[in-house]
């Protein structure tokens, strides 16, 4: 279960501001557990390091008292390695100073490991707690038996079980032998602690587990593992999706010093899913030689059926699509009749281009294929998919493939695809040597699984007093389903993201999905379709307010309507995917949406705005079953015409485990929202991506992000909601609305930099 390359105990101890004194040295007798983060030579993974209590795959208590907690989700900056282990330890009653965190390999025994959809805590909260509680129940049972007292009279805290009436205490380590002999209790016999006893997770500040290693350059990311005899591969991939190699002349590449092999990759077949992209790999002694070798390849390509993909023309196609009726997926009242009698109609079209995740770490993976077994080290969000895909490429069964998960230098959805892992597995076998596949930044931007390109048309019918009596929403985009099969337009599962779950106090509502063909690989991107749906909805509401000459906040609250739980019938839909969460726990709650709007505008002193040369914009959105509202203050700027000067964000994410990391995620959401809105955009010409590096695919730099970002997390005992993604969607419309308030220019298309001419 262990992955040797990821950070271990020292960083956690340091992170807790504990010294590395005798305690730490004395309790880590096992060398595998005590291993330092090794950006360097990988050591073989070691199963079951010491005898002890193993009530489940997530926790191990050694006779030494050391508690090993497995983090089965990938760390990509969201802080999951600093959250899941603390939650489990809190439930167990373990002292974090005596906890070792191990990163899980990809294995179904851990349940869902797909670190995507803001789901780690949202879906795993109870399971993680139960894993810790199970160990606690067994340790208490062992102590109670030894003392001949009732288990209910014992408690587990600070790494020990105590019996308060008789003031007896035994350390976890002392109880392991007895506890390990007991049967693992059934789920229903394991009682979770009351939330008030979870003292660490409710504290304001938890250390970032990996920070001490990160600031020393000692933490291992995908490309940082080194294997003996390892070669480096760089691949020339087909410039157009669906293209193929017609002819390749490797002679000049092979003449580059250090180049060892030139290997033609298998051409992918539709649907592309996570298959390698095809092309030609150059395998060399070092990365530089591989890059030079690739540049020397002479390849003739057949660009295939997507060679006509042109973003300018496709934009027109999408707009034509939303100007015609689509498939109605949400319907209440009689929209057509309401528009027929409307005193006034406010309508607009909105366009958002493809977006590329561009994590700072481009994809990279290391593979070794030996003796019918494949071992991989990779920064993957989805280790089980990587395992499956590597097995498929090699024709091995999955049990012959081991996926070790390194730290991810950002993911944002890009690394939930296994393509780069299966490339490494294929080349390692062909080259008969361990191989690191290194993507360059140009590779990352050219060969992405982009967020869907989108157009929307929204119309609102107003009565004589300005009240919205009908709402008509059309959206067209090639959905992610096109990666796995034929889908000519979004379905209800796609429109759950900010269209079907939109709380509206409007009697007549219709939403339609309009056709859009995929000419690129479409994939998950932080917040996914919510980015463009929130942009259009949040902008239109502001446009309605200005058409009425009223305060956008008041109009937003009026359209959301009074606090209430929406039934499916209210929404006019048959079912709601609801991000895989049950509606009973996570209903569409207009009251929570109202609350975040009220709190964020109070914090930003919305009513007293526009007195200091700044202009404000507001938007709110439900996604990943959380509720977020954003106010941005913008000022004129010499370089970019407008600049975000200050930001406020309020989020109701239910129970939060690590407030400090939630805070960090929301700061990051503001930055990513600014990047998407101001600069975002991948465009295609003749099927080829026009952008290639951070020069033309711009993202926010330090000066583009406000000095002051105010974070407000709504106190809640409710079930946990998503955190990583829900902060992003309201940023786009808040910025659009702020720019309008400042300049009178209504921008309905991302990136704003184009409309602003900067």
């Amino acid at each position: 279960m262990s992955s040797p390359v990821v950070v271990t105990r020292r960083s956690f101890l340091a992170g807790l501001n504990l010294s590395l004194g005798g305690l730490a040295l004395g309790i880590f007798p096992d060398s595998a557990l005590a291993a330092e983060p090794s950006a360097g030579t990988a050591k073989p993974a070691k199963e079951s390091p010491t005898a002890g209590l193993d009530p489940n795959v997530f926790v191990h208590v050694a006779e030494t008292g050391v508690v090993t907690i497995v983090c089965h989700r990938s760390e990509m900056g969201q802080g999951v390695r600093s959250s899941i282990p603390v939650l489990l330890a809190d439930e167990l009653g373990a002292d974090m100073a005596r906890v070792v965190v191990q990163q899980a390999d990809g294995d179904k025994k851990y349940g869902d490991q797909n670190t995507d959809g803001s789901s780690s805590i949202r879906k795993g909260y109870d399971d993680v707690r139960r894993a810790g509680a199970t160990a606690r129940v067994m340790l208490i049972a062992a102590a109670a038996a030894r003392w001949k007292v009732k288990p209910e009279t014992c408690e587990a805290r600070n790494h020990a079980v105590s019996h308060p009436p008789t003031k007896r205490t035994l350390g976890f380590g002392d109880l392991v032998k007895d506890a390990a002999k007991l049967p693992v209790p059934k789920k229903e016999d394991v009682k979770l602690r009351p939330k008030s006893e979870l003292t660490r997770v409710s504290s304001a500040s938890l250390p970032v587990l990996d920070a001490p290693a990160l600031v020393k350059g000692a933490a291992a990311f995908g490309a940082d593992v080194s294997l003996p005899g390892m070669l480096i591969a760089v691949i020339a991939r087909p410039p157009v999706v669906g293209g193929k190699v017609v002819r390749v002349d490797p002679a000049r590449a092979l003449a580059v010093p250090g180049v060892k092999r030139v290997i033609e990759m298998p051409a992918p077949k539709r649907p592309y899913a996570f298959q390698p992209w095809g092309g030609v790999a150059v395998v060399a002694e070092n990365t530089w030689a591989a890059m030079r070798g690739r540049a020397a390849l002479e390849i003739t390509w057949d660009h295939g059926e997507n060679a006509t993909y042109d973003s300018v023309a496709f934009r027109d196609d999408l707009l034509a699509s939303v100007r015609a009726p689509g498939t109605p997926l949400r319907n209440t009242g009689d929209v057509d009749a309401a528009f027929a009698k409307a005193a006034r109609v406010v309508e607009a079209e909105y366009v958002v281009p493809h977006l590329a995740q561009a994590p700072m770490e481009p994809p990279a993976a290391i593979a070794r294929v030996e003796g019918g077994h494949c071992e991989v080290w990779a920064p993957t969000q989805h280790p089980q998919a990587a395992r499956k895909e590597a097995a498929r490429v090699l024709g091995l069964s999955e049990d012959k493939v081991t996926i070790h998960v390194t730290l991810l230098g950002g993911g944002f959805g890009r690394k939930s695809k296994a393509d780069f892992v299966s490339e490494a597995a294929f080349i390692a076998r062909e080259a008969a040597a361990p191989v690191r596949v290194q993507w360059t930044r140009e590779d990352d931007i050219h060969h992405g699984y982009y967020n869907a390109v989108n157009a929307q048309r929204l119309r609102a019918a107003l009565d004589e007093r300005g009240k919205v009596i009908a709402w008509h929403h059309r959206t067209a985009f090639p959905p992610i389903g096109t990666l796995f099969g034929d889908q000519d337009r979004p379905n209800a599962g796609d429109l759950q993201q900010g269209v079907l779950d939109l709380a509206l106090d409007i009697p007549n509502v219709r939403a339609e999905a309009c056709p859009a063909k995929a000419h690129a690989r479409i994939g998950w991107y932080r917040s996914v379709y919510n980015i463009f749906h929130a942009f259009a909805v949040g902008s239109l509401i502001d446009e309605i307010a200005h058409a009425r000459g009223e305060d956008p906040r008041d109009v937003l609250l009026e359209i959301i309507g009074p606090a209430r739980i929406h039934s499916l019938a209210d929404l006019g839909i048959a079912k709601l995917a609801n991000y895989g969460s049950p509606l009973t726990e996570h209903p569409v709650d207009a009251g929570r949406l109202r609350t975040v709007v009220e709190r964020v505008t109070a914090a930003a002193k919305w009513s007293g705005r526009k007195k200091d040369g700044r202009a404000f914009g507001l938007a709110a959105h439900r996604s990943f079953v959380a509720y977020a509202a954003v106010v941005l203050a913008v000022v004129p700027d010499a370089r970019h015409k407008v600049r975000v000067d200050e930001a406020w964000i309020t989020m109701d994410a239910g129970t939060v485990v690590n407030r400090e990391r939630v805070h960090a995620q929301l700061q990051g959401a503001i930055a990513m929202g600014i990047s998407n809105t101001m600069f975002g955009g991948i465009t295609m010409k003749a099927g080829i991506t026009e952008q290639s590096n951070f020069r033309d695919m711009r993202i926010a730099r330090i000066g583009d992000v406000p000095r002051k970002i105010h974070i407000d997390i709504v106190p809640s005992d409710g079930p946990p909601c998503g955190v990583g993604e829900p902060g992003v969607p309201p940023v786009g419309p808040a910025l659009a609305n702020a720019v309008f308030a400042l300049t009178g220019q209504r921008i309905r298309e991302m990136p704003f930099a184009r409309a602003l001419g900067v």
């Binding site: 950006a39 350059g217 070092n286 990365t287 995620q665 926010a700």
Partner: protein, 155 residues
């Protein structure tokens, strides 16, 4: 060609293509993987190191340019993570994914060396070449101020 470079205080001889960017010599040949590849074109700053104390982007600095010079990487900033910036980075929880942070720290260290008490504008200007996709910029500013003994302001 054989280049002699003092890396983190240790004399190294590199027998590599003199055009090889220093980044790949550090990572692939010397095994110093704290310095990261992010763009290869001096656009993101993930590969930032010091050459004779000055900030350079190692992804566009050929080995021949470093011949006879002194290079400091994140591994050599301090051996134990005790630089005031490293301490501030940990205390304020700056890193999210952490991939860009070695480069951020090297840029910030050069800044504080030349301007021990930088203004906000100087911080933004000096750090403008270092991208962070996670958006840790507000905390980077706060941590630089903290390391400089100035009030952190907003986190």
């Amino acid at each position: 060609m054989s280049a002699r470079i003092r890396v983190n205080g240790v004399e190294k001889t590199l027998d590599v293509d003199p055009d090889m960017p220093l980044l790949w010599a550090l990572r692939d040949v010397l095994g110093l993987t704290g310095t990261k590849y992010g763009c290869g074109q001096a656009l993101c700053g993930a590969c930032t190191v010091h050459l004779d104390g000055q900030v350079v982007r190692s992804c566009v600095t050929p080995v021949r340019r470093a011949d006879g010079h002194e290079i400091t990487t994140i591994e050599g900033l301090t051996p134990d993570g005790s630089h005031p910036l490293q301490r501030a980075w940990v205390e304020l929880g700056v890193p999210q994914c952490g991939f860009c942070q070695a480069g951020q720290l090297m840029s910030a260290a050069a800044l504080l060396k030349s301007k021990p008490r930088p203004t906000d504008a100087e911080i933004d200007q000096s750090m403008a070449g270092n991208l962070c996709r996670c958006g840790t910029y507000p905390r980077i500013r706060a941590a630089i101020r903290k390391a400089a003994g100035m009030p952190e302001e907003e986190r």
